[in-house]
């Protein structure tokens, strides 16, 4: 039992060490990126050309295969940033801060894309680009939270102070996530309810939701690969003065 605990502990320690994480990330990133690109290409092509059209919305409904995965990632990435913030505040793990720095820009781009594709979908479906209802407004708040995390990082020159301030903002901001999630159930809105729910079967036929599922999984895999690569880049930047990074640099130059 205690040996199992020791294995777990050393594994956790290894994962938390930037140097060994750099090695793991380099090996895993290509696989995640490959699966991600494949999933997105298959999901998009399937959704665009093969899924049946919606009986009410016609073909504009196909925007779902970009919009929903993007919106899901925007929120999941924020939850991961919040979790990393908590880890940084409680255990002061350096790697958690590096992860936050690495993934915030991706989360922000997903939030912006979700808002824009939502507007493009809204025009032919609702007759308007934008409504100030709970779902769209809380997604806009998410965009500002991401923006705030980036601005706060820039504004504080001391790395450790900046990390802790961002961690605090990230943790407090997670309150917004359940608001986004349940906004379509709690308030009257134009936005349609979620396609995927944990407790119920999807309200769509399989030929409509399977491409969506493939696309969502592709986005997650792509995010995983990008998170590995970007965290590895932050590690190089921050540990540039260490011997192992300098040795890696020499290897690259030769």
């Amino acid at each position: 039992m205690s040996s199992a605990m020791n294995v777990l502990k050393s594994w956790w320690h290894r994962l938390g060490s930037p140097r060994s994480f750099y090695g793991i990330a380099g090996r895993l990133a290509p696989w995640f990126l490959g699966v991600g690109v494949l999933g997105i290409v298959v999901g998009f092509a399937w959704g665009l050309a093969f899924a049946p059209q919606d009986y009410l919305q016609g073909n504009s409904f196909r925007i779902i295969y970009v919009h929903v995965p993007t919106a899901i990632l925007a929120q999941s990435v924020y939850m991961m940033v919040g979790a990393a913030g908590l880890v940084l505040l409680v255990w002061r793990m350096k790697l958690a801060d590096m992860f936050m720095v690495a993934v915030v820009p991706f989360g922000m781009s997903m939030t912006a894309l979700a808002l824009i594709t939502g507007a493009i979908w809204g025009k032919p479906t609702w007759g308007t680009w934008w409504v100030w209802d709970a779902r769209t407004t809380s997604m806009l708040v998410l965009l500002f939270l991401y923006f705030g995390l980036m601005a706060l990082r820039q504004a504080i020159p001391r790395e450790e102070t900046a990390g802790r301030a961002c961690a605090l903002l990230a943790v407090v901001g997670t309150i917004n996530i359940p608001i986004i999630k349940y906004s379509v159930d709690w308030w009257l809105t134009l936005h349609q309810p979620s396609t995927f729910k944990l407790t119920e079967a999807p309200s769509m036929p399989p030929e409509m939701y399977l491409p969506l599922l493939v696309s969502v999984l592709g986005f997650y895999a792509l995010f995983g690969g990008l998170a590995f690569m970007r965290t590895a880049n932050v590690i190089l930047e921050r540990e540039r003065a260490t011997q192992w990074v300098q040795a890696t640099v020499r290897q690259h130059v030769q």
């Binding site: 690109v37 050309a49 059209q53 925007i63 781009s109 912006a112 493009i120 970007r230 300098q246």
Partner: protein, 64 residues
């Protein structure tokens, strides 16, 4: 296949502009995200490699 011609695929039942602009923007954002870390990595090794090389030259000059 849910369309009987390329033209109807592009037209998307009159919603072509909406559907294709959403997908176009999506692909641009995804591609930018995919390229960014490779560019950052390359730049890091270019700058640090140059510095390491110069450092080695400096060390040689000190020795001679």
């Amino acid at each position: 296949m849910s369309f009987d011609s390329v033209a109807s695929f592009i037209a998307m039942g009159g919603h072509g502009l909406y559907v294709w602009s959403a997908y176009g923007l999506g692909l641009v954002v995804l591609l930018a995200n995919l390229c960014a870390p490779y560019i950052t990595r390359r730049r890091f090794f270019a700058i640090e490699g140059e510095r390491a090389r110069r450092g080695a030259v400096d060390a040689d000059e000190v020795k001679s």
